[in-house]
Symmetry: C3
């Protein structure tokens, strides 16, 4: 079950990365690199933090080959419909839903306490996209003033997964339930524009003043 | 003593991160992420480089909880005074002063030679901010044309700490002395605008030409 | 032989970093940091991914000292000629040619399969520059719409090296042959503007629309 969750996480995250790279009109190296980073970036950070070796994509070498194959296939896909922007949200949400649960499960297996394991779930789910955005010189949604719930869905869903695992009756289906919960939570946040309140320190300067001396 | 230094490093760095994130008008996820990265980023790099596990914030799980709590409390703080920009320099300087010494001490404990240990001190002190700036799409001061002394204070102070540790009479207070030295050195650099000379290669092009083919 | 290849990789990559930093008119801290990241960034990622400790620049502490010395010497260099931009391509190409082979060799020594080893060669060669570009708020060539072949030369050359090593007659000179191949391949790509075809998804929006919600 864990392996299926992780495989689906890789496939959907790589799909998101490939579609995003196509939209940025990159060449094959750019498409493969972006898909690779979105698919493996978050889990790599988790594995490095938890000293978990070999890294999940080195221990399962078919993962990079799958992403390589998807990158090649993507070259021959027909143009997408007009609603490209909204359609990218779906594979993105699927990818991070699967990775949030997969990441939390991996952290628990390493003996991490609950708070750290839920954080590792959120990192595994979201940081591939954060790293990819940063390398493409875009500000990750994590660091832009209040955007629709993203990491919140990931973290809450990871906590839900950890809690459900404690109930012997539900344990076998804890993972699919949590994945579905995160995915639907994210879709609802996009649909109804749910946001966390923005902080303010009362300053009137534009929020992107350079503050480091 | 080492544990107190490290705790103060985490608290002041997280305070700087939280105040900066408030100024950028982020939401709770952004505030917590920024504070987390500023507080734990440099030390995480040091621990990964030196293969030191568990990471210092995983081995001491109250650290992330402290940062989490500070992020929540920060939501209810009143607006800051007019001089927000200058006031951010103080917690930033305190944070990296404590982390420079704490980072060098950790490196020495792993058997690193003096030059590497002093570098690890500077990395621990400054790279949390470097990573946070990069994720927010700001150029870290490290990579902007000549700015007031920052990493220099860190590195010199780390060297001072390593030297003082060799003197049995001073060894018990080597850490506080070095921390105070770095902090005062940094304050003086800001006050008197001390800078390293900028390099030049004689070109007349704007310094941000794109040079990679 | 391996040690000579790695040393030359460090020297040429650091030379490229120093020249680039001079052009950006940074101060000593910026020059040393940029040279350090370009020289050691890719290999550090490889060592972290493969759990190879101590890191190659910690196990060989003369490396950071060499880069430190080059950064100091660079301050006293006379202004470069008019053709600065093109001349930076040469040390860049030499650096990543040596690192691609050195990186693949290190990965093979850790037992990595062929595809992963060739990828590690490409990462070791190119990611120092990717990290440095990102920290300076420049988009790495990897993620810009179709640019002259860069990582392709690295990956193909790493595969060539891995293949040549299997032939007992050629094995002792496999490394220099592969290095020369990558270097000449890259020079030809620059001279004749060889590029991979860009992907397209048929959208008419500017390629840098913000797509993450």
């Amino acid at each position: 079950m864990q392996q299926i969750i992780e495989l689906l996480a890789v496939v959907f995250s790589a799909l998101y990365g490939v579609l995003l790279a196509r939209r940025l009109k990159l060449d094959f190296v750019g498409v493969y690199s972006l898909a690779f980073i979105v698919a493996f970036g978050g889990g790599t950070l988790r594995d490095l933090f938890l000293d978990r070796h070999p890294l999940f994509w080195i221990g399962a070498p078919h993962y990079p080959v799958i992403v390589f194959g998807m990158s090649i296939v993507a070259f021959f896909l027909p143009p997408l419909s007009e609603h490209t922007e909204r359609s990218l949200n779906i594979p993105d949400a699927l990818g991070f839903s699967f990775f949030s649960v997969s990441g939390a499960a991996a952290a628990l297996a390493e003996g991490a306490p609950v708070f750290i394991a839920a954080m590792m779930g959120a990192v595994t789910g979201t940081f591939g996209g954060v790293i990819a955005d940063t390398l493409c010189n875009r500000i990750p949604s994590l660091f832009r003033p209040s955007t629709p719930l993203y990491a919140t869905c990931s973290f809450v869903g990871a906590l839900l997964y950890i809690a459900l695992k404690e109930l012997p009756a539900i344990k076998p289906v804890a993972a699919p339930i949590a994945v579905a919960f995160i995915f639907l939570f994210r879709l609802a946040a996009l649909r109804f524009d749910w946001r966390l309140p923005a902080y303010s320190d009362g300053s009137t300067d534009a929020p992107d003043d350079d503050l480091t001396a």
